[in-house]
Amino acid sequence: MKYKTFRKGLSLPFVVFLLLFVLIPIFFIVFYAFSDADGNFSMSAIVDFFTSTTKLNVLLVSLLIGIFNTVLCLLISFPLAYILANPKFNKNYVLVMLFVMPMWINFVLRTGALRELLSIVLKWFGTTTGQHPLFCTMVGMVLNYIPFTILPLYSTMLKLDNSQIEAAKDLGCNPLKTFTKSIIPQAMPGIVSAAMMVFMPTISSYVISDTLSEGKIMLFGNSIYLSFSNSDWNSGSFMSLIMLIIIFVSMFATKKFQRESEKGGAAW
């Protein structure tokens, strides 16, 4: 009995740590979101947010850029992961490592490097980075998040059931139908987790949009950062709370989805 409490006790620092630095801070966000600068209960942060067209605009633009970036990354990474995981094309894990390697070089530095490169390229076309903030931001987002989408897609592609794909072909599916009826459903868990890896970080990103759009595109992350630099804890907390809600909603939606796909797998 004593032994059992001892080994359970090992988790004490971990549990205390999670309570102190994960759970309690979230309560503080809720507390600050619903109070004013003096700490009294107030709905001013909420009223401010929903009456300010700029802030609502920021939310809308962030969601659109988030969706756009997710779709672009998936479109680029899907064939890439398929090729990398297909033994007909690639047997070498090193190639996959090469796609992940840039993640180990400081991403602020990479973003700065990209801006310098883009400004040179755009100079050839006679414009500057400041004149095309959306284009530059999207290039930065896609380049930064491709590695994050490749990994989950690659690991599901490794598990693709080739006999099912061949069966679909033998039973008269054309390549397009094989793709939509067999490959996509099988890769769905990977697609969903890849999308999650891109969508949320894009909305809440600060450095990429701030650097590459020269401060012209405000995403939700930039907005939160701005209230942090102004020490405006209340509206910052409220916006963080909105982010949290978006995260939990998308988590819930995808969880249900993934469970369905698992069920489908079990039925087979």
Binding site: L12, V22, P25, I29, V108, G236, S240, I247
Partner: protein, 289 residues
């Protein structure tokens, strides 16, 4: 088929090239002494010399490495012990803790950073008489929040794979609980611990948001705010271009990462070959008997 293969290779290497282009661009311009990129003023190692006399960058580099080492070690200890302890807890409690552990994994970094910051502000206002408590310690806490959940997630699968009877056996054979954990459990989960350690280290190295939110004064920065590479570069590129010395640093970081990746790949290949030959000899033996 051959045509398909060529297309596939062109596609893969084209994307790879585009991803690496910004880094290669900086590296190429690290071998000239031009203050701005895009202007080649002859080959030189001047920037490398400048790098090692640039105190600002060296301090930031030192801070980054110290912070990453301490936070990685601390996170690995907390996360590993936590995983071992939670593994032996009741299922209900385990599910609860695992759900809380999942919050920082799925949460946006900026929300985490903001939540920690408002808590630190609150604690400073109400328990420290209005003084700011932002320091190295708050920064360390922030980086541990980034890393601990991932350590837990790396160690836990190894615990599940472990044979639970071994721990009981070691207790029956006279090990003290501490010794049993040390001699029996830890050796079996060491791959998970190491990958957790590596992941924590890289998470800390690459972090900008949490650092910017939770830092205070301390470390090599002394009385001024702690600068890490991320915050320093961000402050510089907000005003202008990437500092020329940073280009030299990029080359050095790239080479180090390259060496690690290449040696890791060789290690994996050798390991794979070894297991293949082991399997092969096993077959032979079976056939011989």
């Amino acid at each position: 088929m051959v045509k398909k293969k060529v297309f596939a290779y062109i596609y893969v290497y084209l994307i790879l090239l585009i991803i690496y282009l910004p880094i290669f661009y900086l590296i190429a311009y690290s071998f000239t002494d031009s203050r701005i990129t895009g202007q080649w003023t002859g080959f030189s190692f001047e920037l490398y010399k400048d790098l090692f006399s640039n105190k600002e960058i060296l301090v930031a580099l030192g801070n980054t490495l110290i912070l990453a080492s301490i936070s990685a070690l601390l996170s690995t200890v907390i996360g590993t012990l936590g995983a071992i302890g939670i593994y032996y807890c009741r299922k209900g409690f385990r599910t609860l803790v695992e759900n809380i552990n999942q919050i920082p994994v799925v949460n946006a970094e900026i929300v985490m950073a903001m939540s920690l910051t408002v808590m630190f502000v609150f604690v400073g206002q109400h328990f420290f008489g209005g003084e700011s408590i932002f320091s190295f310690w708050t920064l360390l806490a922030g980086h541990c929040v980034l890393a601990v959940p991932f350590v837990y997630l790396n160690v836990k699968p190894k615990l599940v794979q472990m044979d639970p009877a071994l721990y009981e056996a070691s207790l029956d054979l006279g090990c003290s609980p501490t010794k049993a954990i040390h001699k029996v459990v830890i050796p079996q989960i060491i791959p998970g611990i190491l990958s957790g350690l590596l992941l924590s280290f890289t998470l800390s190295l690459d972090d900008f948001i949490v650092t910017a939110f939770t830092r205070g004064s301390g470390l090599l920065s002394g009385q001024s705010q702690i600068e890490t590479l991320s915050t320093l570069v961000q402050a510089k590129i907000k005003k202008g271009t990437v500092p020329p010395e940073m280009r030299a640093l990029t080359t050095i970081i790239f080479l180090i990462v390259l060496v690690i990746v290449v040696s890791y790949s060789i290690y994996v290949n050798v390991q794979a070959k070894k297991s293949r030959t082991l399997l092969g000899s096993g077959h032979k033996r079976r056939r011989a008997s």
